[in-house]
């Protein structure tokens, strides 16, 4: 018998249809019901208007969409014979605001989603502190707003640069928000200094901690999430950034990649209409997001966890927490590399002179985000968006399940729902 379970309190809404046999999940399909048609809304519009429209695909990662759009348009400029050279300052500031958006996402996920859910599965009565996540996220958003004017839904990245022209006062302000976040993270989240946390090499190092993080870690162990939730043990990173290298990994073996091998197909969702797609690389499923980035980036502690617990739900959750740590440190480095005397914007020809296709790829909080735009005389002919949740979750058949479907198999329904959430589900992006 198929039972339907509604998943709310994710980004948007999803339904999972479970086929339970002998008390464990035999198979599950997933439906994402709400469709907004952003790609067709964009058709016929001035290509620059996409800088305002695409951030509105998603309230939690709109900045990643903005960056994918700006990269796609700049790629179209290049393909039309007008390459744009960005100053170092522009690149760094864009990276900084993207990094802060990933951090705000992870803080919300840790405190509003994963700790409360892990507590439920542990029948724990621990007092929940979801607002810690909102607080930390709001500080990260302030750091974004210093350069981007506001978060969510900024449009400060434009082909050729950024609209802002920051001063040293702005830089100091951004630095102080990052410092505030680091001390919050040390005091409230991990219970040890950021440096010490980043020097951890083995899970045994966690035993000394008493913090939200150690609670999460031991609770995951307690419900044996280190033995469950395995996907394909294949990872994919496509966006090129100061904090990530494109690579495809089979277990720990890296291979080079090219975004042109990404394809999408309709999902298999027999019990409810779904507007999601399945995204694949060379026709195979890969897991994307923080765990993939940590594996590709050779992060010692995560590789260590992976050696012991493979791509279990435990490793997936821990990789997200560690990404907060590595990105906080990286954010500081980025800020220290900004030379405010460099140009914020380099003028190129008017968009109406551009007829070309452009592809923009970025690493969003949940993994690679691809925008492809076809421009004719400055107007959008075609716009296509592929999102990380289409790689991780989608919905396929039993013989060829998506990473999330595979990870839910052979667990109880409650565990399966938890494992589903370890992928940090974004339904709004998926169906855009």
């Amino acid at each position: 018998m198929i039972t339907k379970q509604l998943i709310d309190q994710i980004e948007g809404e999803a339904s999972i249809f479970f086929d339970i046999k002998d008390n464990v999940v035999d198979f599950a399909t997933i439906a994402f019901p709400h469709f907004r048609g952003i790609e067709s809304i964009l058709k016929g519009k001035n290509a620059l208007d996409a800088l305002v429209i695409t951030p509105r695909v998603c309230g939690i990662c709109g900045h990643a969409h903005l960056m994918a759009t700006v990269r796609a348009i700049e790629d179209a400029y290049k393909n039309a014979g007008y390459p744009i050279e960005l100053s170092k300052k522009i690149t760094i500031i864009r990276e900084f605001t993207l990094v802060m958006e990933i951090i705000q996402n992870h803080f919300k996920w840790i405190y509003l989603t994963i700790i409360p859910e892990v507590a439920k599965l542990n029948n724990s009565t621990k007092v929940q502190t979801p607002l810690k996540g909102a607080y930390a996220a709001s500080i990260a958003s302030k750091a974004i707003a210093v350069f981007a004017g506001q978060w969510p839904h900024s449009s400060y990245m434009i082909p050729g640069g950024i609209t802002a022209d920051p001063t040293n006062i702005d830089l100091l302000k951004a630095e102080s928000y990052v410092d505030e976040l680091i001390s919050f993270f040390e005091k409230e989240s991990i219970g040890v200094s950021l440096d010490a946390f980043l020097s951890f090499e083995s899970c045994k190092d966690f035993n000394t901690l008493k913090s939200d993080f150690s609670y999460l870690e031991s609770s995951l162990m307690n419900i044996k999430m280190n033995e469950k939730g395995f996907a394909y043990d294949r990872f994919l990173v496509i966006g090129t950034h100061t904090f990530s290298k494109p690579s495809k990994l089979k277990q720990t073996r890296p291979f080079s990649i090219d975004a042109k091998y990404v394809t999408t197909v309709d999902t298999y969702s027999p019990d409810q209409a779904s507007y999601a797609k399945n995204a694949q690389y060379k026709n195979a499923f890969y897991e994307t997001g923080p765990l993939a980035r940590a594996m590709a980036g050779n992060l010692k502690i995560v590789k260590n966890m992976h050696r012991r617990f493979k791509d279990s739900a435990y490793t997936r959750v821990m990789a997200r927490v560690f990404e907060v740590a590595t990105l906080l440190e990286h954010a500081k480095e980025l800020l220290s590399g900004i030379d405010i005397s460099q140009k914020s914007f380099l003028k190129s020809v008017d968009i109406s002179k551009i007829t070309a296709r452009g592809v923009g790829v970025v690493e969003a909080p949940r993994g690679p985000l691809l925008h492809t735009v076809d421009i004719k005389d400055g107007l959008i002919q075609e716009y296509k968006i592929v999102t990380p949740t289409q790689f991780n979750i989608g919905s396929s058949t039993k013989t060829n399940p998506t990473p999330a479907q595979k990870a839910m198999m052979k667990t109880t329904q409650d565990e399966a729902v938890f494992i589903f959430r370890t992928f940090d589900v974004c339904s709004v992006c998926t169906t855009h």
Binding site: R36, D49, V52, I53, P130, P152, T167, F345
Partner: protein
């Protein structure tokens, strides 16, 4: 209409066709806890709630404030229940309806998902013809894409105190939407003396003449109640896109529409001829301070 001290007003926050942007903007509120402590959250897309979502859908609850985020699509279903049925049920039984964001207020961006049927709760763009016409007196529109968290906090605090939120013709609180986004912009002096920004990425110049700034035609308090307590679009050189107005999103957002190099739209309430006379005079002056760089760094390049 004082609410009793012992019972906190209850809130159901419900979503139509949305990006979750208002939800995430709200989570940025300073002292979020102080506000939440004054209410009982029956249901919210991401905050801890006392009721589960299926109970909300069963239409058996009562709430004091019904917050609706996103565009209204009469055919949309949440877990097999028509949104139209849910909206009708809560609109009838609740005391206050807040249409949160430009989609819920006027249709906004996601009106374009199905332009013939989608709308805001009370308005379809400018026109008062939405599904909640019957409950008009309960509806407060907080437009914006997204809303500023303080705008919602203000409205909720007023309701909690039992004070009336005065609204205008478009059902927006007058304390938030009587000013223009232009009020308080750090580029105001450039606007006065008609010094336009040469290009993006500069501290100097006003974005009204070339870069498409809609702030003089947009009701909001973006440059007064700063975003994330830090800044605003125009302060970082991004033109205002007029996201609080019923016609958002317009087209060609990064360029000013002009007729013979005169902006097509002039600031609200100013006759075009008066504007042009004033602009013409201002342009005859050459003010060195406003024409050069604001700050001269000793640069390497």
């Amino acid at each position: 209409m004082h609410s009793k001290q012992d019972k906190k007003p209850s809130i159901i926050w419900f979503q139509g066709l949305t990006c979750n942007g208002n939800t995430h903007s709200f989570l940025n509120l300073e002292n979020l806890k102080n506000l939440l402590d004054k209410f009982e959250i029956l249901s919210h897309p991401s905050l801890p709630s006392t009721q589960n979502f299926n109970t909300v859908l069963s239409c058996t609850l009562e709430c004091d404030i019904f917050i609706f985020e996103g565009a209204y699509d009469p055919l949309m279903k949440r877990n097999d229940t028509l949104v139209s049925k849910i909206v009708e049920y809560y609109a009838k039984s609740t005391k206050h309806i807040i249409a949160l964001g430009s989609c819920a207020s006027f249709g906004g961006l996601f009106k374009a998902s199905a332009p013939d049927r989608n709308s805001g709760l009370l308005f379809n763009e400018q026109e008062k013809s939405g599904p909640l016409l019957k409950y008009e007196s309960k509806v407060i529109n907080i437009s914006g894409c997204p809303i500023h968290p303080e705008w919602l906090a203000y409205t909720l605090h007023m309701i909690a105190k039992g004070r009336e939120v005065e609204i205008n013709k478009l059902h927006r609180p007058i304390e938030l939407y009587s000013t223009l986004a232009h009020h308080g912009c750090t580029r105001n002096e450039y606007f006065e003396w008609k010094v336009d920004a040469d290009d993006f990425g500069e501290k100097e110049g006003c974005l009204y003449y070339k870069q498409g700034c809609r702030a003089p035609m947009t009701h909001s308090s973006c440059n007064k109640i700063l975003w994330n307590e830090v800044s605003s679009k125009t302060r970082v050189g991004t033109p205002c896109f007029g996201c609080t107005e019923p016609d958002f999103p317009r087209q060609n957002l990064f360029a000013t529409k002009t007729n013979m190099s005169i902006p097509e739209d002039v600031p609200i309430g100013i006759a075009k001829r008066s504007y042009l006379t004033m602009a013409g005079i201002a342009k005859t002056f050459h003010i060195k301070r406003l024409e050069g760089k604001l700050i001269d760094y000793k640069t390497a390049d």
